[in-house]
């Protein structure tokens, strides 16, 4: 199964990759890989974490030079020595990790290296603003071009990255997991943009782990596994089960393995928690064994509530009780002392130590009781723990000493999950836990969260994917504009009901 099934209504491919091979020390990331993009189509790349999708895209975008193989644009071989070459040739890429300068404005970020200049050769800020405004109007984005990027949510930053990539007016646009941080509303927005681009005859390469998106947006699908090209076909000729089977090499069992577990006492009790100017009067309880979902649109305050609970941004008023006693949580350290763990949403900003090893990343939160003796780290014990966490989470890495920055996005995420699981928390807060994680591993992580709950851990889970929240939670707290607009028990949870509460400030009737 392979090349013959390739869609071929047109002989003219916009972009072709032929027989690409790329190795890194200890890893063959790609081997004999091919890819054929037709103009005016969206081509989805599917594959497990570490399958080589991002590596292949970086070859097309000039970031990596392949060991073997060739990239052809409209049939002509391309030699790329760097990303600028690729942009020149008409290939733009939105990387899996965000790459904006936090202290520069949105407009400055979008037009970096291409700023409009005035007569004196200085940046013309008026023109910069106007150009951005025009771009945003075309794309239907409502953001202030002069706002500094650091004030944006991750979703906001992602939209800026999208706008930036579109602004190059390139013929080939690569999107590496653009929706991993977006909620349904922004995803729809992105799809409108993509449909426009497709209508203009551009070729779009789209990487995602979300199956429903693939069938909404993709024309063609290529599947990769362990650095090999497996299959390419029209989206209309494939089913989601087939794709998963091709990706994983086996059947993946049931997606949200929710079990009913005995619910214990209230472990975490939050009353009138507020962070001035961000969210107000948030109250809820979480019991041992319970999984409480936090839903809401981007900017509704979900992530802020999680960060405040964990002491990243201490509350300005309100009360947090752990096991019935009121606690003051003013730093993550204190939160951890009280048995909490928080997997943050933005893994690059607040999660990863990119230059440190997988081991150093995984062990950092647990260098306290039990794992140190008078300041000295019990490395042997930790090595073993991290090694078994690595196999449990199936982290794909040559060894634990590998620099974590060299791991694929999904594997980095798994390491961070491992970091917090090692702390054996009593209250586990997960903010977009399966961000960038492939279908198979996702089910695995859901199973693990369920298992923790059955062992009496209180879980709070934030996810932009409604099916995930609905599938996993016992109760769903819906937020809008910094307030809880409703609490939906599992039995009554429906996409419509949650979206209602998430979008209307008046949904408050249930609260």
């Amino acid at each position: 199964m392979s090349a013959e099934n390739t869609p071929s209504d047109t002989n003219e491919y916009l972009l072709e990759v032929v027989n690409a091979r790329k190795t890194f020390p200890g890893v063959v990331a790609l081997d004999g890989v091919q890819l054929k993009i037709r103009p005016g189509t969206v081509h989805a790349l599917m594959g497990e974490n570490g399958a080589g999708k991002s590596t292949l895209m970086k070859i097309i975008a000039g970031v990596y030079i392949p060991d073997e193989g060739e990239v052809r644009l409209r049939g002509k071989p391309l030699t790329l020595t760097g990303p600028l070459d690729a942009l020149e040739a008409g290939i733009a890429m939105i990387h899996q990790e965000l790459n904006l300068m936090p202290f520069m404005t949105i407009a400055e970020n979008i037009w970096i290296r291409r700023e409009p200049l005035n007569a004196f050769g200085l940046v013309d800020h008026r023109a910069l603003h106007d150009k951005t405004q025009a771009l945003f109007e075309r794309l239907g984005i409502t953001m202030d071009p002069d706002m500094e990027v650091r004030h944006l949510t991750i979703a906001g930053r992602q939209m800026v990255e999208i706008a930036k990539a579109v602004s190059y007016e390139s013929d080939v646009l690569i999107m590496d997991e653009p929706t991993s941080a977006l909620t349904d509303r922004e995803v729809e927005h992105l799809f409108r943009i993509i449909n426009d681009l497709r209508a203009q005859g551009k070729g779009i390469v789209y990487i995602t782990h979300k199956m429903d998106e693939v069938f909404t947006v993709a024309d063609d699908i290529s599947v990769f596994r362990d650095g090999q090209f497996i299959h390419c076909a029209k989206a209309s000729d494939m089913t989601s089960d087939e794709i998963i089977k091709l990706m994983v090499g086996r059947e993946v069992t049931q997606m949200f393995p929710k079990e009913t577990v005995p619910i214990g006492d209230v472990v975490l009790s939050v009353r009138n928690l507020s962070l001035e100017g961000v969210f107000t009067d948030v109250s809820f309880d979480v019991r041992a064994g319970e999984i409480v979902g936090l839903a809401g649109l981007v900017g509704s305050g979900r992530t802020n509530v999680a960060e405040t609970l964990f002491g990243v941004t201490p509350a300005t008023s309100g009360e947090i009780k752990v096991n019935g006693t009121s606690v003051a949580i003013t730093s993550p350290h204190q939160a951890m002392v009280n048995g909490m763990a928080l997997l943050t949403e933005d893994r690059k900003e607040t999660g990863l130590f990119l230059d440190l090893s997988v081991l150093e990343n995984m062990e950092i939160a647990v260098l306290r009781d039990g794992y140190t003796r008078s300041g000295f780290v019990s490395q042997g014990v930790l090595d073993d723990q991290c090694e078994s966490m690595k196999s449990l989470l199936k982290v794909k890495t040559p060894n634990l000493d590998e620099r974590i920055g060299n791991l694929s996005g999904g594997n980095q995420q798994k390491v961070l999950i491992g970091r917090w699981l090692l702390t054996k928390p009593k209250i586990l807060i997960l903010d977009e836990p399966t961000r960038g994680i492939d279908v198979g591993a996702k089910a695995e992580i859901h199973r693990m969260v369920t298992k923790l709950a059955s062992e009496g851990v209180a879980v709070i889970m934030i996810s932009s994917e409604l099916p995930e929240v609905m599938g996993m939670s016992d109760r769903i707290l819906v937020m809008h504009g910094g307030r809880v607009t409703g609490v939906v028990p599992r039995e009554e949870a429906s996409q419509v009901r949650i979206m209602e509460l998430a979008s209307s400030p008046m949904g408050a009737d249930a609260a």
Binding site: D31, V63, G249, P332, E349, F353, L367, T372, E387, G405
Partner: protein, 345 residues
Amino acid sequence: MSTATDTTKAVEETTGKKRKKKVPTEVSILLVLVGISLLFEALGWIVRGDSFLLNPQRLLIMILQMSIIGIIAIGVTQVIITGGIDLSSGSVLALAAMVTASFAQSSDYMRAVYPALTDLPWIIPLAAGLLVGALAGLINGSLISLTMIPPFIATLGMMVSARGLARAYTDGQPVSMLTPDFMWLGSGANPVIIFLAVAAIFHIALKYTRYGKYTYAIGANPQAARVSGINVRRHLIVVYAIAGLLAGLGGAIAASRAGTGQAGMGLMYELDAIAAAVIGGTSLAGGVGRVTGTVIGALILGVMLSGFTFLGVDAYYQDIVKGVIIVAAVIADQYRQRKRSKAKT
């Protein structure tokens, strides 16, 4: 299709369980050290018809000269690993040398700074020097973590003030006539022994303790460090205090070796210390660096100094070459950084 599966897994299995060490950066720096030494050896025979290396006397003097800079460089290395910088170590060394000397004077001397406190056992002046250094570092660290001013500015302020304080301490007069008891500290090979002991202690501390792991984590990503439960502010204060303490130790040894405390001591040592760290592979971007590298870096500086003197090269030219080497080391650092971050940005 199952054959297709696993080039990667095969590699994983062979290297997976046994944690294979990569070739550390130190090896390449060590090669540079050997290369430079051999170069001077060759030049020695050509220019002077004499061996550069086969002269134990010269080697001892070289290592002695470098041990004080080496000690403060170990403190500075830790600061740089956290993503900071310490410009004050040379001045703090001078201040500590003055204070140390003032408690180490002998009673034979008429114009002692503290006539009532003469002939004290060596431990007391040493402790005074360490204390002064640690205090200066504590102030650096507190300024940086409580007011959030950049380390460059905080330690620049300390650099100027500590030098001023060292001068003001005795109105610019040297503090001399130290007790033989105290002079013992810096005599013979003692400074070298102390240097190596300090290097061993902090090599272990950085590698095997929580202190070390937190230091790297903060340098690699301070926000993530905080979210991982590290008290970043407190830790930074500790790191700067340790750097100050080591500058204080350097000051005490310098005073003991010279038999006097002078406000002009340690001039530009901060730059040599930073240079030793950077040459040794410590990244100015933070998160990367090792004590072993810094020790080799200090030795490279020492060999250069001693080699040029041996060849009779004028001091001005020595400085020019040193400047070039420092810049080259930073370029090498940038190159390594780019290579690191080229992977996943």
